[in-house]
């Protein structure tokens, strides 16, 4: 399954999004009230478990995690990167 679809499946099922179709890939998860502070921790847990990645503290920023598209792009960058601190990790 494509990364974006896996992310979408996780977000919509884990955070009880009742109208999953209306949540666009670029919508801010924070603005839409989909996640809160502990929700971000759950997203990190998902990324680490599902993709075998380590999310560094300084990568826990909205630019990487605040929408389905951003999470997918972040995961793709990390998977393509040689390791922590690779391209695009900041």
């Amino acid at each position: 399954m494509a990364i974006e679809q896996r992310v979408r499946d996780f977000v919509t099922s884990n955070f009880f999004v009742s109208d999953a179709a209306s949540l666009t890939d670029s919508a801010s998860l924070l603005d839409q009230g989909v996640v809160d502070s502990t929700g971000v921790l759950e997203i990190i847990g998902f990324i680490e478990e599902a993709f075998g990645l380590t999310v560094e503290d300084d990568e826990i920023v909205p630019a990487n995690l605040d929408s389905i598209a951003r999470i997918a792009a972040y995961v793709e960058r990390k998977l393509g990167a040689p390791g922590p601190g690779g391209p695009g990790s900041g």
Binding site: S18, V35, D36, S37, T38, G39, V40, L41, D57
Partner: protein
């Protein structure tokens, strides 16, 4: 002329809450009061905008004592509306932005809100709720408004448009007294129906003065607040910072700790209020020590007890900062605080009464108990709420006669004990309210939502220990015969009805629940 709508002849004689803003704006007009969403507002700007908002409300029919519901995150508009509604002689009610449609509709009707001030990003929730309200005269919407979904709402207007032509130099005439309500704050009640705590100007002035005194807040303070303004713990960060002329750095949540830490550094933050969940998250960060937090003068904890290991972590990480363990409830903003010099010798105590307050403990016969004995905490203070909005029975249970004829004191519903030095220790709550990541969770409210799900016959909800949340919500369900549900399906259904922090983290399906001889569910046996 209706005397209830008559302007005060000597408006400045006795202060009201919004006089904090007026006085500070006169003293420090060009100082930055608020940093939020990339904006920096001076005290003069905050004063002028809130004047305009007050006039906009009055123009749309908001009268003295009317309730103005603010349904939004920690935004610039929330701050302006809080002060502006006070200046309009109205009662503010900031509602948690995570609330879902049905609950928002019931809150709007419960307090018969005359105005709703909200944010376009919450349209999916408020559009239907506001349409169901029987009392709204005005709906002010900040941000890009969706015309097709909001055009039908009562008195709907864009925030910017509503404020544009209004006077900015002065507020509407003062009609209120200091014994009038400044705020109602919705809180999760044991019965499952939310109740609103009524706070007068005098309640809030007393609380702000007491808190800012023991925290030694000064003009040079920079306070970073990620706590929702819908909670009094968050709201008092705004009030005390305006009171002393400090700067408030307002963020929407603690979701991105690195961002919060960066703000701490760049804004030179001196005061950080938090809850145990925040400190648990910070403790897990590898990079925490890379941030220069030397300007932090104090850190506070409330909402739930801070485990001693986090107190020790904070002491080690921030050797120059004072650590305040505090106790309070919405009914009385602050009931105790531990003087920071005592934190090493009494790390698990919640301390002593804040200035201008008396505390004692009583047994079930209302007799005072001595050191070492457990009793219900009773508070005597001008900080104590006026009561629960239109709930006289609930009010009578908590507000009972005090030592002086006619006075009332607060029976907190919390058990504590004093040590020989007079320091207080929190023991437990009398009811079964769960504290999850600093928010109050009423098991009954969650159970009501659970049995509302088709196929669920009976539900029991308890709190279980959780390293990050403090307590996590756990549900035990008995299903109707022949029904099959999954944990995820139950959580999804709950998510449609409840704020995220109320949704059970774990759902267990059982064939029966432990019961007392009277047939009541025995929750102690579920743990």
């Amino acid at each position: 002329m209706n005397p209830f709508q008559q302007a005060q002849r000597w408006p400045a004689a006795v202060p009201q809450l919004h006089d904090y803003l007026h006085a500070t704006a006169a003293r420090l007009p060009d100082k930055v009061a608020l940093v939020c969403d990339g904006q920096r507002l001076t005290y003069a700007e905050l004063e002028a905008s809130s004047n305009a908002l007050a006039h906009a409300l009055v123009r749309r029919g908001v009268r003295r004592g009317d309730r103005v519901v603010i349904f939004a995150d920690n935004t610039v508009q929330t701050v302006i509306t809080f002060w502006g509604a006070l200046k309009a002689n109205a009662v503010t009610a900031i509602v948690n932005s995570q609330v879902k449609t049905d609950k928002l509709a019931s809150l709007l009707n419960d307090c018969r809100a005359a105005a709703l001030v909200t944010d376009a990003r919450h349209t999916a929730i408020f559009a239907e709720a506001a349409a169901r309200s029987a009392h709204l005269k005005a709906t002010l919407i900040a941000g890009p408004r969706d015309e097709s979904r909001t055009a039908h709402l009562p008195g709907v207007v864009d925030w910017d448009e509503a404020l544009a032509a209004e006077p900015r130099d002065t507020a509407p005439p003062r009609l209120n007294l200091d014994i009038d309500l400044a705020a109602i704050v919705y809180s999760s009640g044991t019965t499952g129906t939310p109740k609103a705590i009524m706070l007068t100007h005098r309640n809030m002035l007393t609380a702000a003065t007491s808190i800012s005194t023991y925290l030694e807040n000064v003009e040079d303070d920079v306070i970073l607040n990620v706590l929702p303004l819908a909670l009094t713990y968050g709201l008092y960060q705004l009030i005390t910072s305006v009171k002393v002329g400090a700067r408030l750095v307002l963020m929407r949540s603690f979701a991105y700790p690195a961002q919060v830490l960066e703000q701490l550094v760049t804004e030179g933050v001196t005061g950080l209020p938090g809850v145990p969940t925040m400190y648990a998250i910070l403790a897990g960060m590898q990079t925490l020590r890379d941030y220069d937090l030397s300007k932090l003068r104090y850190v506070t904890n409330a909402a739930a007890a801070l485990p001693v290991k986090y107190i020790r972590m904070l002491r080690e990480l921030l050797p120059g900062a004072k650590i305040y363990s505090m106790y309070g409830q919405t009914e009385c903003a602050r009931g105790a605080y531990l003087p920071p010099e005592d934190v090493d010798r009494k790390p698990d105590s919640i301390g002593i009464a804040p200035p201008n307050m008396e505390l004692w403990l009583v047994d079930e016969n209302d007799e005072k108990v001595g050191p070492g004995q457990i009793g219900q905490l009773v508070i005597r203070s001008a900080m104590v709420m006026k009561g629960y909005w239109e709930k006289p029975e609930d009010t009578a249970e908590r507000l009972r006669p005090g030592p002086l004829p006619g006075e009332q004191v607060l029976y907190t519903g919390d058990y504590g004990r004093f040590d020989e030095d007079g320091y207080l220790y929190f023991v437990s709550r009398m009811d079964d309210i769960i504290k999850s990541r600093g928010e109050k969770v009423s098991p009954r409210e969650v159970e009501n939502a659970l049995v509302d799900i088709p196929g669920v016959k009976e539900a029991a909800v308890i709190g279980v220990p959780d390293p990050i949340l403090g307590q996590a919500v756990k549900a035990f369900l008995i299903l109707e015969p022949g029904v099959a549900l999954t944990e995820k399906a139950v959580q999804m259904e709950c998510g449609k009805r409840l704020e995220a922090f109320l949704v059970p983290k774990a759902v267990v399906f059982v064939s029966d629940l432990p019961r007392t001889s009277g047939g009541k569910i025995k929750k102690t046996d579920l743990r």
